[in-house]
């Protein structure tokens, strides 16, 4: 891990070429699933948590993920309805036609 935190005044901090070990916002987004899964090395986990202390952008992102997970849980096992036969037939015809 190296480089940067949240954008500074709209500039990506990677532009600033920083020499300390930190997790960037982009790296955090890429690692968030593994972070929640608890499978990251301790050092990376610590760097992510240090980032979350000071980056309200990424805290908001985490809150959105939690809200999404909660909404999906509320749906329970309800399955979406099958698409109508006419739609399936049209998709098959389109696929067969190669378009």
């Amino acid at each position: 891990m190296h480089n940067s935190g949240p954008p500074i005044n709209g500039h990506p901090v990677s532009e600033f070429d920083l020499p300390v070990d930190e997790v960037t916002c982009q790296q955090f987004v890429e690692l968030v699933t593994e972070y929640f899964g608890g499978v990251l090395p301790a050092r990376t986990t610590s760097q992510i948590e240090e980032h979350l202390v000071m980056c309200d952008w990424c805290v908001t992102y985490v809150e959105q993920i939690h809200a999404t997970i909660a909404s999906l849980r509320e749906l329970g096992d309800e399955r979406p309805p099958e698409p109508p036969d006419a739609v399936l037939a049209a998709l098959r015809a389109r696929k067969a036609g190669g378009t």
């Binding site: 300390v20 301790a42 610590s46 202390v53």
Partner: protein, 205 residues
Amino acid sequence: MIAYKFLRSGRVGPFSAFQWPGPGVWVHAPLDPVACRRGVHACRPSDLPWWLAEELWEIELDGPVQSEEHKIVAPAGRLGAQIEAWTPACAQEYADACAWRAQGRAVEALARAGHGYQAQQLAACSTLDEVLVAARQLANDVPETRISLTIAGDGAVRALTGAPPTSAYIAAHAAMRLDGAGGYAAERAWQSRWLVERLGLHAGH
């Protein structure tokens, strides 16, 4: 060993969401501690700037204490006294102090680049609002110091909007912009000293 621990309001762990019992009640990790996974995590004074949160507590640790880069981990701990001096007003004071440090770095960047007049302009600011306006204007006027000035302006914004951890982070990066990783470490050390002195903590823990 006595150390410190930042918690969210109501003695809640910022990442574990663990509700700490009141002072004096021992909490034991179910297994051997592993940093960032399980165990009682705490701060040495030098670690404090990385972990700011609403409440600051003394914590007594028991058992072998592991030292990590910015934290320590032990198998057991119990809260001691809450650090009453760590209030929202104190946190804001810290954020402001960090923003002024970032402004100072930008002044130094201008001076090093030979822009003495502009350095004086920025140094003459008496409020963080003025720092914000001046830094943004000078960032346009003096492209070679644009990054230091942008960082200073953003530090002012973050302090003005009440984000102490971000303000401290920005001040550290302002120092790093001028003096590399050594500047970053020195700025974090300054932040730790500020907290120790302002809050009356024990620096030797």
